[in-house]
Symmetry: C2
Subunit: 334 residues, 2 copies
Amino acid sequence: MRATVKDVARRAGVSPKTVSNVVNGLVPVSPATRKRVELALQELEYVPNLSARGLRNGRSGLIALALPKLETAYSAEIAHHVVEFAHEAGWSVQLEETGSEPVREHELFVKARAHQIDGLILNPVVLEASALERGMTLPPVVLIGEVEQEIADRVAVDSVAAARDMTRFLLERGHREIVSVGGGERSVSAAGHLRSIGYREAMAEAGLPTREIEEADWAPAAAARAIGAFLDAHPLPDAFFCFTDGMAMGALSAITSRGYRVPQDVALAGFDDIDAAQFLGPGLTTVSFDKRDFAGRAFTMLVERMQDRDLEPRLVIVGHRIVERGSTRATVRA
Amino acid sequence: MRATVKDVARRAGVSPKTVSNVVNGLVPVSPATRKRVELALQELEYVPNLSARGLRNGRSGLIALALPKLETAYSAEIAHHVVEFAHEAGWSVQLEETGSEPVREHELFVKARAHQIDGLILNPVVLEASALERGMTLPPVVLIGEVEQEIADRVAVDSVAAARDMTRFLLERGHREIVSVGGGERSVSAAGHLRSIGYREAMAEAGLPTREIEEADWAPAAAARAIGAFLDAHPLPDAFFCFTDGMAMGALSAITSRGYRVPQDVALAGFDDIDAAQFLGPGLTTVSFDKRDFAGRAFTMLVERMQDRDLEPRLVIVGHRIVERGSTRATVRA
DNA sequence: GAACTGCTTTACAACGATGTAATTTGAACG
DNA sequence: CGTTCAAATTACATCGTTGTAAAGCAGTTC
């Protein structure tokens, strides 16, 4: 049986509260008593019961991290950083997968209210912020990524600007027919929507028509299929701009398996700069941002929010930059 | 303020215990009372406080998943599947990162005892099972991957056999100088150790000398550096057998950036069959196993173990197979 | 030596849910 | 109509921790 404060108290010949005081260190305890208690703590291998502590002071020491698809490299990197920051600060992280379903996103708020978690870092997917808007009592929450709302804290990359920058970059390299992948009119994902806007703006500036491959599933396999179908039905464009690196991986596979070369025959660009991007052959030109910083800011914001729930909603935009790698080195049909 | 059983009870005009009975459904409640209580539950949006429940019945509804490096594709895929299975069965998953440090692995047992978690799925890295062996009272735990121990439940791929199979496969393709990457004498990782054994056995069968690039950090970047250094110092071998797909990605990058072609100049094989493996150019020949099944078995075992802690330790070996893709299609210096 | 100070330690209650055992309710029977 | 019995409901205690408020205890001061 696990030892409790009571056991430790008995052994040290003090009251339970004194043990608690030693453990928590908030109330002063005389050196002599402290030593005795500490000895008893060690002897009994005391470990506080977190459920009881959580019940008593209304905090569980747990935050939740909710991501749409855990198996993606992007999610993995974010999870890695968040867990690291949280661990350093003494928090545990509960992992949730929303699978892009708004229902699951909503469940999280319920869960938060169940007191299982003190705060929530949520990467929403769907454009509509319905889960948020009903004037409901929000748990401390920080949104990461794209959602159009002004109710909760948020950390994001400026997707419109980033997509515009990347499109301009491709245009500067002399590409004209640039096909975007992952956005389009029917895109329900906020990120897809915003990146489409940036892409269109840049194409409009250049007086060029847009062409968009709409694909809701941002996984490599789906992108490979979609782009494969496109390649089979259309002449080769100058460049593909995939709205995630994952899709770009699928694109690369679809392109090269048809005997085309990147970047000689067609250029390829991505978004996110996942670890794998630089190890592809050729390396992937992509929109990069500091994911460690991104996660760190989200976590810090959440901590602040948990301390003071009355703060005004804040928005942090994390800088981005275009990283040029092999997939766009050459210019097509110059 | 969140409603409690007491509030609901008052509203429904019954006792708290009756509310609890309705919520839990274990004790029969008359239809009339049930209806009244259910109404009150809805009106007050009652959500049980899990800390209190956990305190009362000693379970938190939380299991922990501890992986060495969350940012790897392998970890991400495992996490994805575990979270899915757990969610279906009504469990939440707390994510932990051990960073391959035995200390952190040990901390987890303490945490489990702290009652924060009811069970633990741990992917240990270090060969020695010291954290386990001291006859300590284990929390319900299932180990995934390679560790030499017989105390706890475990799910794993037969690494020795798999590495031997892959090495034989390369030998059958006519490769002679096969260099392994990620193992070696100094490897402290159990997986590295075991895969080395399989590799050596197959090479010995063929009467060929082994050559091993020892690299403890199984990340693409580290592998790229290590293999790059090797390429700069030695003549090109027939094949590289990387002990993870991640390393193979790094290898591919190092190889192609030096102007060599895969598989024409040198073949390349990996281990794990991560999603990215099929989208590399060329696709990666690798040791594949059903990760969903792998995760599912680990989870099921954990549930069983949580139900009955006196079960004999069990071992589940998940089948593997060689998946041939472009990175080994050709035969060198035939 | 009594009264006062400031510090340490204590007893007690409370957080919310639920098992136990006792009580109430209602139905069925003689 | 009174009794018996099963089923539904209740009061109470408890899980382990910690805040509150009161008590204890030195050491000073007058």
